[in-house]
């Protein structure tokens, strides 16, 4: 029976810059969250135009 060898250092890709080291997976997740944040600010909310034209909340 062949012995099984686990190589942890082969798992995943990392981006390094000085003292900062982050996995590509985590970097993608952070970028996606920033994208969601920006989209939440710029995308129109459904019904917004209708509400702005009425005096419902004034």
């Amino acid at each position: 029976m062949r012995p099984m060898i686990l190589l942890a250092d082969g798992a995943g890709r990392y981006v390094s810059s000085g003292v900062i080291q982050i996995s590509v997976t985590n970097l993608v997740i952070i970028a996606a969250m920033i994208l969601v944040f920006v989209l939440a600010l710029v995308l129109p909310f459904p019904g917004r135009h209708h509400q702005d034209s009425s005096d419902r909340d004034s």
Binding site: I29, M33, V36, F37, L39, A40, L41, L43, F45, G47, R48, Q51, D52, R56, D57, S58
Partner: protein, 215 residues
């Protein structure tokens, strides 16, 4: 029983403790604001959705966690349904944190502590930190190689700050109890307080909007 004269105006200071508690509860949030059906116009933005998305994810986290507690470690490791509920618990936590961080970014950049809302902001901060601790003890409670790896890596950091004596990350039973009893209780109370404070003080208006005219 006390006879009440209906011709007299209501007594200003209730004498029984139940009446006093009832009065106190009724004054926690302004009338009609506990479950409002109308919101200020400035809330017509996606950035205001992430708070309730965080709450919705938390409900799924708690519900899936309750099912995991019913089945136990062997169930979530070996059965198909156990794997599914385990994954549901994990991914609802991932979404919970993602929604909460976007909510945090939005509230930070709109300076949401304005207008006597400092306690609302601080309960949110404590809920965020408590959530990190709850998630951490959850990763330690997986009962697999990952939890062993995380615990042995974390013990040195926690020992270096002197908390290892009473918070032993290499004690799976202690970590499981912190994860399923202590931290959820504390977190649950803080989240309820946070939501009550949001309803009490209202949603913070945009920085360039007048507080009085915006609501």
């Amino acid at each position: 029983m006390t006879a009440v004269d209906t011709d007299q105006p209501p007594v200003a200071t209730p004498t029984s403790w139940t009446a006093r508690v009832r009065e106190r509860i009724s004054r926690i949030v302004p009338p009609g604001q506990a479950l409002p059906d109308r919101q200020p116009a400035y809330m017509s933005s996606w950035i205001y959705v992430f708070g309730v998305l965080t709450l919705a994810a938390l409900i799924v986290v708690v519900a899936s966690g309750v099912v995991l507690a019913l089945g136990g470690v062997t169930w979530w490791h070996v059965s198909s349904l156990g794997h599914f509920v385990n994954s549901l618990h994990l991914w609802s936590v991932e979404l919970f944190f993602a929604f909460m961080v976007v909510h945090l970014w939005g509230k930070f950049w709109m300076a949401a502590w304005r207008g006597n809302r400092a306690l609302t902001w601080m309960t949110g901060v404590v809920a965020f930190l408590g959530s990190i601790g709850t998630a951490f003890t959850g990763y330690l409670s997986q009962a697999n190689f990952a939890s062993q790896w995380i615990s042995t890596q974390a013990k040195d950091g926690l020992n270096s700050v002197g908390v290892g004596a009473f918070f032993n990350v290499m004690n799976p039973a202690q970590m499981l109890l912190w994860h399923v009893v202590l931290l959820p209780l504390v977190l649950g109370v803080i989240v309820v307080l946070h939501v009550i404070l949001v309803r009490r003080h209202g949603i913070v208006p945009p920085i360039d909007a007048d507080e009085e005219t915006a609501s």
